[in-house]
């Protein structure tokens, strides 16, 4: 009985905070827009009776999903989000792997400090950090002033409100999520493995590719998913730093909800986003499971 209660607790948590909201969003996505409050029909209340419930289910339809597939704005937004997330993940990996490697190879007494420096930005509000980047990247910002002062450029560069700014901000924001799992994998790597590889005829570079990289693989995969999954649905970065040409599904979703007040279409966008994300999430879970099995 006590065991059941113990297991039930996390399930109730998941049910109340994930499944129920999901079902509500799903229901809204099947409803129609209405000038009402809340802005959709049909509505159903307890006490309306059986017939009302039948009528309620009868009026739910897939109209909004059909609409999404017809208007190419949404498709382009999904594709563009995937592209931006994919490229930022790749850049984050290229920046993060050497940093993780550097930390793992640094003297033992330095490592806690270096890791602290990686985690430290989290102590400041995310929004404030994004605003700080806006200050750096804007036309009159620190970066342009610095480059002008160096004489490298004659005209200030337009970086803010372009896709470049979005990439910079995503890479900056999610870099710790890439570094930490890779560091964890590299830290577990026994130095004697590299010595053994050298002893058996590898050069240092060969040993890196044949031993270090394969053994860091699970860390790399975990890091990539941890960056890719949230980056797809990113809202704040494209809204604040992207330009009019920056198309990301999170931003579209936001505008449907708050500018157009079209809750049913916004919900349909959210449902599709969730379906897209389920694939990488499942792959991520499988990777974690494989890793645990390999360690046993």
């Amino acid at each position: 009985m006590r065991r059941l209660a113990l297991i039930a607790l996390p399930y109730i948590w998941l049910l109340a905070l994930f499944l129920v909201p999901f079902l509500i969003v799903l229901k809204i996505s099947l409803s129609d827009l209405a000038l009402a409050r809340p802005p959709y029909v049909p509505q159903w209340n307890f006490g309306d009776g059986w017939d009302a419930l039948k009528a309620f289910f009868g009026s739910l339809d897939l109209e909004n999903f059909v609409f999404l597939s017809e208007d190419d704005l949404y498709w382009r937004a999904y594709i563009s989000s995937l592209k931006i997330a994919l490229i930022s993940t790749l850049i984050t990996l290229l920046v993060g792997f050497p940093m993780a490697y550097g930390i793992a190879r640094s003297p033992e007494e330095w490592r806690p400090t270096l890791l602290m420096l990686i985690i430290l930005p989290f102590w400041t509000s995310f929004l404030i950090r994004v605003y700080a980047w806006m200050g750096i990247l804007s036309k009159e910002g620190l970066l342009n002033q610095f480059l002008l002062w160096l004489g490298l450029i004659g005209e200030p560069l337009t970086i803010l409100n372009t896709n470049t700014a979005v990439y910079i901000a995503i890479v900056y924001t999610y870099l710790p999520f890439m570094i930490l799992p890779i560091y964890a994998a590299l830290d577990r790597l026994d130095d004697s493995l590299l010595e053994a590889a050298e002893d058996l005829g590898c050069s240092r570079i060969q040993a890196f590719w044949l031993i270090t990289v394969p053994l860091a693989r699970n860390g790399v995969i975990a890091g990539c998913f941890l960056v890719f999954i949230p980056a797809i649905g990113e809202v704040i970065i494209p809204s604040l730093m992207g330009g009019s040409g920056t198309l990301m599904i999170g931003k579209v979703l936001w505008e449907e909800f708050f500018s157009n007040r079209d809750w049913p279409v916004a919900s349909a966008v959210a449902i599709i986003l969730l379906l897209i994300l389920i694939i990488p999430i499942i792959l991520f879970q499988r990777n974690e499971q494989n890793q645990r099995e390999a360690e046993r």
Binding site: D190, S192, L193, E195, A196, A197, E198, D199, L200, G201, C202, S203, Q206, L210, I211, P214, L215, R217, A294, E295, R296
Partner: protein, 373 residues
Amino acid sequence: MTQPAFSPWDDPAATPLIQFRNVTKRFGTFTAIEGLSLDIFEREFFALLGPSGCGKTTMMRMLAGFEDVTEGQILLNGQDIAPVPPNKRAVNMMFQSYALFPHLSVWDNIAFGLRRDRMRKDAVASRVDEMLRLTRLEKFANRKPHQISGGQRQRVALARSLAKAPKLLLLDEPLGALDKKLRQDTQFELMDIQETTGTTFVIVTHDQEEAMTVASRVAVMDEGKLMQVATPDQIYEAPNSVYVADFIGDVNIISGRASQSGDKVAIAWAEGEPQIQGTTSRQFAPGQTCHFAIRPEKVAISAQKPDAPNVLRGKVLDIAYLGNISTYHVELPTGTIIKAQTANTRRIARRSFTWEDPVWISFSDTAGVLLEH
């Protein structure tokens, strides 16, 4: 037909495979190895034995190329190996942790070194299969290292380090992670493999029994210096110092003042006790401090006073029963404790002595060795 004994170290014409010439190794201000010279010959099974921190692992890592030599030279086949990086040395090492690559199968682990040599595919395959047969691992070829037992992992590590047919194989505490029974079996396996392959083995160990079992010669080390280099029986029977005598096996040390006539030495070691009679080829000045070292199994214990050159009286303080043998701790009137060992050829119920019994201990004048330091 009797085989000639394998002892190239006694042959002045033999050229050593490895020569340490006045090698010194310092880590910062700490001197790990000090002015050490040593020859190791081809086909030898050479053991470096010593307590942890004595420099034995440093010597091995210098041979493998993971540590530089601070002063002096190490020659392999007459060539200074200092400029040769570890991946170009004809030396392979079996690591204490085995250092098996966890992402590769047993087969790929063994093939790893061969592939680096750009060997042909079928040549790699036949060599790996040969190694698997040698170490009786055929059945486990496709397993990953975490799917096999500790003893099997040890054999994979051995097969991997032997695969490239190195001139010299270094073994760093190769059996340290195995339990006692498996360790003993593996020791004999190692000796067999060493004989079949004809490879020169250098083994680092802190286990003196292991060194004595496997090695053709043993080097006893302490604080970066070689204390004695000799065959196991010489190390045991004729240690050159109290340190070596004490490090290898069990020993009784009695210190006193020597008075020599010819090869006979009498040692005055305590007031009121008879002098100990010993035999030596060394020269001791009259009154010089000397140490008489005798192994417990060479000390006899009896109830009646026996007729022997050295006879001492005492009482049984403690008995350590080990099954096949018993060690008696006999306290002499001076308070000195002498260990005497007897084989338990009779059942324990018929043991002649028990605690507090007055006994005589005796030994011949040639049973012990006389040491200066």
